[in-house]
């Protein structure tokens, strides 16, 4: 295979892993992976959810210890590596989930562990100046406490930290999830500049277009093993990538768009005022799938949260199908009771209870419905959990597995299953397929489509243009807290949406 480069090229190999393996008890996360990464290239790493991508880069970056095999950096074997020593050697990892210290501000998070210092004392002035320079043009306030930042900003902090680290091997584990087109372009520009300076990248993504755009070589993991790859990207196509990843062809989903016009049964949202939202009127129809797009701060995400009672609204009403309009819910509990469900875009922060099992997470939002006089009906819970475990195609030995140990994409499926299990009338999904692999993504879009056909109104907030195009009936473009444009029917195209996003 082309991946195992010949000895003569060894001089160009900056990183080599040999026969690398990692197990967790009885679970094999990675086995027999041998791989060379050429210096000054962007090396794509692909694979289904749970294939072992994060595990592999976790081992390379010193986050976890391999159970077998060796890692060579610049030809020298690395022993007893930890994150600190690997960063010292120039290897930086941006993890799949934002790694943020909540009560520190943005600037301090940027400089975490790489504080400019002399004789052990942190040089605050340099730190502040450097951070300000790094954050220039990102719209992130360096003094803002990290827990007040949204998911995208938290993501960016980690990426920027690696970009400015001066490292020579930078590993990005799904960096682009929930970034919009502009951010992506900027990130790629950054990567190309650094690459020209000889920096090597390992780039993990479930988006084929990104891989095709930026990668010089790819390797594919499947079921914990290396399943293939190529060093010649010139003839690569999206279909071929999908086939490499899945081991079979990919059947892309496309929803049959419907025009709901002005039907009688409507979900009417009126006069919503909340932080970042100033919406006059918006109607949704049962059975309709509506996409919300807009730049960060445009009000799309904020409206989604306000409708669910996660951020307080000073005014606003919602009527769900023919009923009198009532005040927006004041708390998620109320929202669920009224049939409004919401999926957050940051699963780690407010999507999952990591130390609980898959089953417990799946049923968490449905507890009151699945109990009598406060006593849980375990039979019901088991059947609901089993149903959504199956439906979402969660890859795990069983429902009693702790959610923390799942791969990122599988955690996302658990989140999604939890909100769907509440059997809502209005389902609001913020980045529903974040981190989900190409194959399962189509399954998820099909499930959402199916839900809609049974009368659920679905809102998808997404920066993934392709996903929006494939799955919605109507797109609401947000700016300044309100809907500024509605796109319907045949007008919903990749091109049109991309225009809107970069405008």
């Amino acid at each position: 295979m082309s991946l195992q480069s010949s000895q003569s090229e060894k001089g160009d190999v900056v990183l080599r892993v040999e026969d690398l393996g990692r197990t967790y008890g009885a679970v094999i996360a990675l086995q027999n992976v041998t791989l060379d990464i050429q210096r000054g290239t962007i090396h794509g790493l692909l694979g289904e959810n749970g294939a072992g991508k994060s595990t592999l880069v976790g081992l390379i970056s010193g986050q976890r210890k391999p159970t077998s095999g060796t890692i060579y950096l610049n030809g020298k074997p690395i022993e007893h590596a930890d994150v600190k020593s690997m960063e010292h050697a120039g290897v930086f990892l941006v993890t799949q989930e934002p790694m943020i210290v909540d009560h520190l501000d943005a600037a301090e998070n940027l400089m975490l562990g790489i504080w400019p210092s002399s004789k052990g004392f942190v040089n605050w002035r340099t730190l502040r100046a450097d951070a300000a320079r790094m954050l220039e043009g990102t719209g992130i306030d360096p003094r803002m406490r990290a827990d007040k930042l949204d998911a995208v900003a938290r993501r960016k902090l980690n990426i920027l930290r690696a970009m400015f680290s001066g490292g020579n091997v930078i590993i990005l584990d799904e960096p682009t999830t929930s970034l919009d087109a502009d951010d992506r372009t900027e990130l790629f520009g950054f990567m190309r500049r650094l690459k020209a300076e000889g920096v090597t990248f390992i780039f993990i993504s479930h988006y084929n277009d990104e891989i095709l755009e930026i990668c010089d070589a790819v390797s594919v993991l499947r079921d914990s093993r290396l399943a293939g790859g190529t060093k010649d990207m010139s003839t690569m196509t999206s279909e071929a990538l999908s086939e490499l990843v899945l081991g079979r062809g990919l059947d892309l989903f496309q929803r049959k768009r419907q025009d709901f016009g002005v039907e009688s049964a409507r979900i009417e949202i009126r006069d919503v005022a909340a932080q970042g939202v100033r919406l006059e009127a918006l109607d949704l129809h049962p059975g309709e799938i509506v996409g919300f797009t807009g730049l960060p701060g445009s009000g799309a995400k904020e409206l989604a949260r306000a409708l669910f009672g996660l951020i307080p609204s000073s005014s606003g009403s919602i009527s769900l199908g023919g009923t009198q309009g009532t005040r927006l819910p004041g708390h998620p509990t109320e929202a669920f009771d009224r049939g409004i469900a919401f999926l957050s875009d940051d699963r780690r922060r407010d999507g999952l209870v990591g130390q609980m099992s898959i089953d417990q997470n799946l049923s968490l939002s449905s507890l009151s419905r699945l109990s009598k006089l406060n006593f849980i009906d375990f039979g019901e819970i088991r059947s609901i959990s089993a149903r959504y475990f199956e439906l979402m195609g969660i890859k795990a030995p069983g429902g009693d597995v702790q959610v923390d140990t799942l791969s990122g994409g599988n955690q996302q499926k658990v989140c999604l299953g939890r909100v769907m299990a509440t059997e809502p009338r209005l389902l609001i999904l913020d980045e529903p397929t974040r981190g989900i692999d190409v194959g399962v993504k189509q399954d998820v879009l099909r499930i959402i489509d199916d839900l809609a056909s049974r009368g659920v109104a679905v809102v998808i907030v997404s920066t993934d243009i392709d996903e929006i195009c494939r799955s919605v009936d109507r797109v609401c473009v947000f700016a300044g807290g309100d809907v500024v444009e509605e796109i319907t029917g045949a007008d919903i195209t990749n091109q049109r949406l991309r225009q809107r996003q970069t405008a």
Partner: protein, 333 residues
């Protein structure tokens, strides 16, 4: 998604033996409290035959009762990732109120007892309010509450010991059936009730969820504040009941009743696997922790360890239990 099961359940070739070895080790470490408990019982028994007598067993059970009520009470706030240091002080103060309701107000003993338990419950409720609605830090708020309650008890008793308790009030602490004390029955009942609450009710699930990730629990439709208040309130109620039992058993309420329990009441649930970071543990673990501490105390008293060494040796034994548990968490999660 295709052949995932092969990867997930299959073990690496030729590693079957080490996997079993690992499983045994995992099992041992998971049950370290109980194994340590059995080991100590045997050890103390070897040193002094008296340790194996029925009388001593009864003694352990009675001693474990009050500590057990306190351990359960401390466990609940810990499970929602908070802490309540005022629980032993609550026990002393609320029992004194109960006693005064009988001696000063002339209430029947049963009503007076209920007043005491009610006061304990209210204190727990109040702590919960302070921590959720006022966003006070539980460590400090309950520390202040502890100091207030200890001071209040001293003020009420004027430094004297309350001994004029009614016969009905002290009955449960003294009564025996066929020679066996019935006081431990209350503790067993409390374990069962709290255990069922944690395992089978929506509140119980919510407690684990809030302790595991409060932000996620909130987004999942759980009213985090209410769950925390409930945890503190139930803890206060258990402290009140514990106060009644202790007074009934000792037939007296000293001016510092309960305060000596503080460290043990916190150590017991943590030794038993209740995480100080919330969201983990169960009542059986608390029971194990309580029994372990009680056996150490009673055992050291029975074996002829010079009294100057008792504290130190007891401390070491607890240290070992916690260290082994830390190793378990580190290697087996």
């Amino acid at each position: 998604m295709s052949n995932s099961s092969a990867t997930l359940s299959g073990s690496p070739p030729g590693s079957g033996k080490s996997t079993t070895g690992r499983n045994v080790l995992a099992w041992v470490l998971h049950n370290v409290v109980w194994i340590w408990l059995v080991a100590l019982v045997v050890l103390f028994g070897l040193f002094n035959q008296f340790f194996f007598t029925v009388f001593n067993l009864q003694n352990v059970m009675v001693q474990a009762t009050v500590l057990g009520m306190l351990g359960l009470a401390v466990a609940l706030p810990l499970m929602v990732a908070e802490i309540d240091l005022s629980i032993p002080a609550n026990l002393g103060f609320s029992s004194a109120i109960g006693a005064l309701a009988y001696s000063e107000l002339g209430l029947p003993w049963f009503l007076a007892m209920l007043v005491g338990v009610g006061v304990g419950t209210l204190i727990g409720f109040f702590n919960g309010l302070c921590i959720t609605k006022l966003r006070m830090v539980s460590l400090i708020q309950t520390l202040a509450m502890m100091i207030i309650l200890e001071g209040a008890l001293l003020a009420i008793t004027q430094g004297r010991t309350i001994t004029n308790l009614s016969d009905g009030y002290v009955w449960i602490g003294q009564a025996t059936v066929g020679g066996w004390p019935i006081m431990p029955v209350v503790f067993i009942a409390a374990i069962v009730v709290v255990g069922i609450m944690l395992r089978r009710t929506v509140l119980g699930r919510s407690i684990y969820a809030v302790g595991g990730n409060a932000t996620a629990a909130n987004s999942a439709g759980i009213r985090v504040d209410r769950v925390k208040i409930a945890a503190f309130t139930i803890a206060g109620c258990l402290a009140g009941l514990g106060g009644f039992l202790l007074a009934s058993w000792q037939m007296a309420i000293t001016s510092s009743q309960g305060s000596s329990y503080l460290l043990y009441a916190i150590a017991a649930p943590i030794i038993g696997g209740i995480s100080v970071f919330g969201g983990r543990g169960n009542v059986i673990g608390v029971l194990g922790g309580v029994l372990l501490l009680t056996v150490i105390q009673v055992g050291l008293a029975i074996v002829n360890v010079p009294s100057f060494y008792v504290g130190m040796i007891g401390g070491f034994m607890i240290f070992i239990a916690v260290a082994i548990d830390a190793i378990r968490v580190r290697y087996f999660g």
